[in-house]
Amino acid sequence: MSKKSENENGVPTTGHSWDGIEEYDNPMPRWWLYTFYACIVWGIAYSIAYPAWPMVNRATAGLLGFSTRGALVEELAAAEAANAQIDSRLASADLSVIADDAGLNQYAVSKGAAVYRTWCIQCHGSGAAGAVGFPNLLDDAWLWGGDIEAIQTTINHGIRNEDDPDARFSLMPAFGADQLLSEEQIEGVVNYVMSLSGEPHDAAMVAEGAEIFANECAACHSEDGTGNRDLGAPNLTDAVWLYGGDYDTLIETVTYARAGVMPAWGLRLGAAEINAVATYVHQLGGGE
């Protein structure tokens, strides 16, 4: 900011000097100035038209009444309106033919995946592999049936809940806790059950266990132990165990019984969403 000097071209310099290099002080173009003014005017107008100035509780609302939440609501409404037709088709569709309609099937799977991620992953896991007590939806073992109608019914009414009178319901007796069987009898029946699926077991106790099984368990789990889907009684001869197939876990299961609960999603979600998530679960790899 020292005294301005002039060089041989007659152009004033800023007076700064860096290693002998000086800077010309040429004027800026006037259109640039006008552009700058226009930007200021635009900025002021924008801050009046749109939310801008921070106040104590919230920013000024702006004359146009724009808000990102409002924009989101509009976008969601627009998306729903755009999907309304296919949603009504999905809601009234015959479940067994959805797979034959490529467009509807793709929509149902995508929508079902979104529904699943919102409501189902808390218990069944993001990859649908389930957890102890929460069934794996990828395998081919189904408690209440694995065709799409059975899956839809399970989702729609839930299991052992008190909200829906049509909920799937069955109850295993707590054989130990209610003293229906003695500890030895329970040990016997567990050894028998483990023998059904070829797990390591005490062969000496199998004969006694088989007798108890026939009396106490076969009514639900059927005589050969393959279970009964009408009652949600699991197949005891396969490799899939909901709570675990080791000796200690089975003792606990027989002693205290198990009674998992699933909400009746039909009371919370629309028909299209139920059908969508049923389609999604059915195509995960275990659907029948």
């Binding site: 004027p27 173009p29 592999a129 990828l138």
Partner: protein, 479 residues
């Protein structure tokens, strides 16, 4: 608004209007040819047709953003092949390095859209309002009489039409040109098409008609970057001061007392034709786009007065010392062919060759495999261990093709494609299909009980017998 010694200079100055005079000569002719070529390519390209079958668009050059495809005559680029575009950008970069180090701001002078359209707009201006002197008179005329209004309006309307054609041509690269033209004319086109046309029409009009050299001097970063790539052998437009000075009007009979004059007759022809409004005799300046019109103007004058051409000429910095010391001019090709430019050319050619080879060896089918890791495996009711894979199958043919999926592994594994019999998957024409594939290991088998087994998934086009494979792994239930 005075600028005496004790008041600071104005911070802002109005643009000095420039009225470039008509000029003819070899560089002007070269510029006409380049203008014709570049504008022709720009306006006509979207209208070329190219038959790709009924499933695909029939426009030769098409950037299909909605379907994520780029069509260029016989070439079709998919999004995952975007490296071709990156390669082209690298080539463009190296090409600019090459041309800048060899020929300076030749891009600015001849091929930059700003230069080409400004040239076209000045041509229109000259047709309508006359050459430099007539335009100057019209500019200085204060009274807005009928003639001035008529000339101005004619000029603006022609400019607007050129600008509209320019903005209009751009959108044809992104949609089927005849369809879009009809939609635009019948007001059925998408608002984005109209707003794009409007924006580009406005910028063409303002930049070509009003802003002109201001864009190059104040808005464009490229000249500043180019300056960093030039060296003492780079060709620029320069004035042979040692030959021209002292300048002055030549008289028939020279006074014996006066010092002999140089070749420059101070006719200002070089200044009058300059589209940037500078005097090249002041030396190399940041405004100069090296369009070489001053060379043409000066050569014409030199011929008239019977002096050799080249008072203003393309030359390099090294020429000055060379010629001042009385030596002959260094030929231009010696400036151009040197290690640096040869290196740029080789690199440019190498990238180009690599891209061409890559373009012709790329297969018409490709596959990617993403193992599903949530969960890593599923135990089926009979104890089978099952792994899932998301397999993306790309069919680049213009027709549907059945792809056979198979696996190659040391163990006894079984492969199943979800929803497809015998792992035979039909992939629609010119599309990608996401296919879930299961690989299963029997209970107790080696793969089922070991943590990791190597697997290669093969995909074969059953029609063309082309195949592609991807290595992946099978996760077992390790004890």
């Amino acid at each position: 608004m005075s600028t005496s010694d004790d008041t600071p200079p104005n911070l802002y100055a109005a643009r000095e209007p420039i009225f470039p005079k008509r000029v003819s000569g070899r560089f002007r002719n070269l510029k006409w040819i380049i203008m014709l070529l570049t504008l022709g390519v720009y306006y006509i390209t979207p209208w070329f047709r190219w038959d790709r079958g009924p499933e695909l668009p029939s426009q030769a050059v098409l950037v299909d953003l909605a379907n994520r495809r780029f069509f260029f005559f016989f070439i079709e680029i998919w999004p995952h092949e975007f490296y071709f575009v990156a390669g082209l950008l690298i080539m463009a970069g190296l090409g600019l390095f090459l041309f800048t180090s060899a020929l300076g701001r030749v891009w600015c002078g001849y091929t930059c859209p700003q230069t080409v359209w400004t040239d076209l707009f000045i041509l229109v201006e000259r047709w309508v309002e006359g050459d430099r002197n007539a335009r100057l008179r019209l500019h200085r005329q204060q009274k807005m009489d009928v003639r001035k209004i008529r000339l101005r309006m004619t000029k603006f309307v022609i400019w607007a039409l050129i600008a509209l054609a320019t903005g209009g041509a751009w959108v044809f690269y992104f949609a089927d040109a005849p369809t879009l033209l009809w939609d635009l004319l019948t007001l059925q086109a998408h608002p984005v098409a109209y707003s794009t046309v409007f924006l580009l029409t406005a910028t063409t009009f303002v930049f070509g008609g009003m802003m002109r050299e201001q864009v190059c001097i104040y808005m464009c970063p490229w000249p500043r970057i180019q300056a960093a790539m030039m060296d003492e052998d780079t060709i620029t437009v320069a004035y042979r001061e040692w030959r021209g000075e002292p300048r002055g009007k030549h008289r028939k009979k020279a006074d014996a007392d006066e010092a002999p004059l140089g070749d420059c007759i101070d006719c200002n022809a070089c200044v009058n034709v300059c589209p940037m409004g500078i005097d090249i005799r002041d030396g190399q300046q940041l405004e100069c786009i090296t369009c070489a019109l001053c060379i043409d103007a000066c050569d014409e004058m030199m011929e008239k007065i019977g002096k050799p051409r080249g008072l203003i000429d393309y030359m390099a910095l090294t020429d000055e010392q060379h010629e001042r010391s009385g030596q002959a001019k260094i030929p231009v090709w010696k400036h151009i062919f040197r290690l640096r430019t040869i290196l740029y050319t080789s690199l440019w050619a190498a990238v180009g060759l690599g891209l061409t080879v890559a373009l012709f060896i790329r297969p018409d089918l490709s596959v990617t495999v993403a193992p599903i890791r949530n969960p890593v495996y599923v135990t089926m009711s009979d104890g089978t261990i099952r792994n899932s894979y998301d397999v993306r199958l790309r069919n680049k043919h213009g027709e549907d093709r059945p792809f056979q999926i198979s696996i190659e592994t040391d163990d006894q594994l079984k492969v199943v494609a979800e929803g497809a019999e015998d792992a035979l998957v039909l992939v629609p024409a010119d599309s990608t299909k996401l296919q879930r594939v299961y690989i299963m290991a029997a209970p107790g088998s080696a793969a089922a009980t070991s943590a990791v087994t190597d697997v290669r998934i093969w995909v074969e086009d059953t029609v063309s017998k082309e195949r592609a494979g991807k290595d992946t792994v099978f996760n077992g239930k390790a004890e």
